[in-house]
C-alpha cells in the first residue's frame, strides 16, 4: 500500500526548503505548542503527515499555511530538526504558484507590504495600510484606531525612501521567480 504513495510533494518541498519531512514521527509537539492552532483547519502535525502522503490538493488549499505566524516555536522544539515554519513557507509559495491560496486577505497584506518596498525601498505604514485597504476592499476597518494613531503622532504622512530605488527594483526583478534551495 504505502509504496503507492506519491513522494512528489515531499521531494518538491525538500528541493525548495531543504527540509526532510519524512523524518517526522508524529510526536505532535508542533501542534501542542502552536499559538495559532485554534484557528487552523489542519494542525501542523497533520500537515507533516499529509506531506508524507503526498496530499498536495488539501495542503495547497488549506488555511493553515497562511495562518502560520512564523513564530518558529515548532521549528525550535522539533526533535527531528525539521524547520516546520520553513515547510509552511514552502507550502505557502507552492499554493501561490498553484493558484489555490486560501485566506485571501493575508495574501493581499503581504502583497501590499512588498509593493510598498518596491515603490519606496522602505516601509511606510500609511502607504501600507492605504494599499491594504484598497486591495482588500475593507476601507472602513480600524477608523477609530487610525484617529488615535493620528492624535498620538504615529502616522507619518511624508514617507522616507531609498535614494537608489533602481537598485531596489532590480532586486524585485531578479527575484521575481523567487525560490532557492
Amino acid at each position: 500500500m504505502i509504496s503507492n504513495v506519491s513522494r512528489q510533494l515531499e521531494t518538491a518541498l525538500e528541493e525548495r526548503t531543504g527540509q526532510k519531512v519524512r523524518h517526522c514521527y508524529q510526536c505532535k509537539k508542533c501542534s501542542a505548542g502552536c499559538p495559532v492552532a485554534f484557528a487552523m483547519d489542519v494542525l501542523p502535525h497533520e500537515v507533516m503527515k499529509l506531506v508524507q502522503y503526498g496530499q498536495s490538493e488539501r495542503l495547497l488549499g488549506c488555511s493553515t499555511v497562511w495562518l502560520c505566524a512564523s513564530c518558529e516555536t515548532c521549528s525550535t522544539r522539533c526533535p527531528n530538526d525539521i524547520d516546520i515554519a520553513g515547510v509552511m513557507d514552502g507550502l505557502r509559495v507552492m499554493s501561490l504558484e498553484a493558484g489555490s491560496a486560501s485566506e485571501r486577505r493575508i495574501g493581499v497584506f503581504h502583497r501590499s507590504f512588498l509593493n510598498g518596498i518596491k515603490l519606496l525601498g522602505r516601509t511606510n505604514e500609511t502607504v501600507l495600510i492605504g494599499q491594504y485597504k484598497a486591495l482588500s476592499g475593507r476601507p472602513f476597518d480600524d477608523l477609530g484606531l487610525g484617529l488615535v494613531m493620528f492624535l498620538k503622532g504615529k502616522i507619518k504622512l511624508v514617507p522616507r525612501f531609498v535614494r537608489n530605488r533602481r537598485a531596489v527594483r532590480k532586486i524585485f526583478e531578479e527575484t521575481s521567480r523567487g525560490r532557492s534551495a
Binding site: R16, T17, P35, V36, A39, L67, A69, S70, C71, E72, T73, S75, T76, D83, D89, R92, V93, L96, E103, R105, I106, V108, F109, H110, R111, F113, L114, I117, G121, R122, T123, N124, E125, Y132, S136, F140, D141, D142, L143, G144, L145, L147, M149, K152, G153, K154, I155, K156, R160, V162, R163, A167, V168, K170, I171, E174, T175, G178, R179, S180
Partner: protein, 294 residues
C-alpha cells in the same frame, strides 16, 4: 576595551509608528558611548511578508544592506527584532550557501557576504557594556515598577541566529531590567507570539494572542510589559479589540521599550515625550511610581 562603534541599521518602524524606540535608542547609545553611524541608503529588510511569500527576495533585500555594511566593515547594530532576525538569517544563509550568495550578488550587484557581526542593542548592553556598568549609570532606580519582560519570537527564535541565553526561558531582558531596579515578575509567556504578522489581515486571530499576553502579565502582578520589538509593541497597543469605528482598550497595562526605561533610569532627556506617544498611556503608572513629576 570592546569596540563600541557600529554601523546602525535603524529599520522602518523607528521613523514611523515606533519613533520613540528609534529616538530613545539614539539617546541611550550616545550616553553610553556607543557610536552609531547610519547605514547609507539602507532599504527595508522585507520582514515577514518577504520570507512568507518569496524566499530569494527575503535574502536579497537584507543582502543589499549587508553588502553596504561589508563596504564599511564595522559590526551592524539593529534594534527591531524583525530586522535583526531577517539580517541574521540572510547573513548566515549566504555565508553557508555559496550558490544562494551568488544569486543575491547578481540581484544586488555587489558582494553581500558580510562577515562582521549583526547585533541587537540588548545584546550589546547586556554582554558588551555589561550589567555592572549599567547599574553604575542608574541615577533614578526604577524600584517602584513591577514589570514583565516580553521577548516575543524573533529575539529568541531560531536560537541558531539569536543571542539570548535560553530559547525557552531567556533571562537577558529580565537581568537588564533588574539592573535598572525594576521588580521583574516571573511569568510563562515571555516568548509567546503576539500574532504580529496577522495584525491587519486576521485581527480576530491576533486579538486572542494579544489579550492572552495582557491577561497573563496582569496575573503575574505586572504593571507594565517591557519589549524590544516595535512589531510587538504596536500589536499589543493596538490590537486588543479591533473594530471599525470604536477604539477600546480592555487592558490598560502600558507597553514600553527597554530603551525608554534605560533613559529614564539614567536621567536622560526626552523620556516624557516618548511616554506621551504611547497608545496605552503610561503616565499615570509613572506618576504613581514616582518616576516622573509632570
Amino acid at each position: 576595551m570592546t569596540d563600541l562603534s557600529f554601523t546602525y541599521y535603524p529599520g522602518c518602524s523607528q521613523s514611523g509608528s515606533a519613533s520613540e524606540y528609534g529616538d530613545s535608542t539614539e539617546v541611550v547609545c550616545a550616553a553610553l558611548g556607543i557610536e552609531l553611524a547610519e547605514l547609507p541608503d539602507w532599504n527595508c529588510c522585507g520582514a515577514s511578508s518577504a520570507h512568507m511569500t518569496n524566499d530569494l527576495l527575503s535574502v536579497a533585500l537584507p543582502g543589499r544592506d549587508l553588502a553596504a555594511a561589508r563596504r564599511i566593515g564595522r559590526d551592524v547594530l539593529v534594534v527591531c527584532a524583525a530586522c535583526y532576525s531577517r539580517m541574521r538569517i540572510a547573513q548566515s544563509r549566504m555565508l553557508e550557501d555559496e550558490k544562494l550568495a551568488r544569486r543575491v550578488e547578481r540581484a544586488v550587484g555587489e558582494n553581500p557576504r558580510f562577515e562582521g557581526r549583526v547585533r541587537h542593542l540588548l545584546d550589546v548592553l547586556v554582554n558588551d557594556i555589561g550589567l555592572p556598568s549599567i547599574r553604575e549609570r542608574v541615577a533614578l532606580s526604577l524600584e517602584g515598577l513591577k514589570a514583565v519582560p516580553y521577548y516575543g519570537c524573533l529575539l529568541v527564535r531560531p536560537p541558531e541566529v539569536c543571542f539570548c541565553d535560553s530559547v525557552e526561558n531567556p533571562t537577558d531582558l529580565d537581568r537588564f531590567l533588574e539592573a535598572l531596579g525594576v521588580q521583574v515578575r516571573p511569568w510563562s509567556f515571555k516568548t509567546d507570539c503576539c500574532g504580529g504578522s496577522l495584525s491587519l489581515s486576521r485581527p480576530d486571530v491576533t486579538e486572542k494572542l494579544v489579550n492572552k499576553i495582557f491577561t497573563r502579565a496582569e496575573e503575574a502582578g505586572a504593571e507594565c510589559i517591557v519589549a524590544a520589538c516595535p512589531m510587538c509593541v504596536a500589536n499589543l497597543e493596538m490590537r486588543q479589540k479591533p473594530s471599525t469605528f470604536a477604539f477600546e482598550l480592555p487592558h490598560r497595562l502600558p507597553v514600553l521599550y527597554f530603551t525608554e526605561l534605560l533613559a529614564l533610569a539614567m536621567g536622560l532627556p526626552g523620556v516624557d515625550e516618548w511616554l506621551k506617544s504611547h497608545i496605552i498611556d503610561p503616565l499615570p503608572l509613572m506618576r504613581r511610581a514616582n518616576l516622573i513629576r509632570a
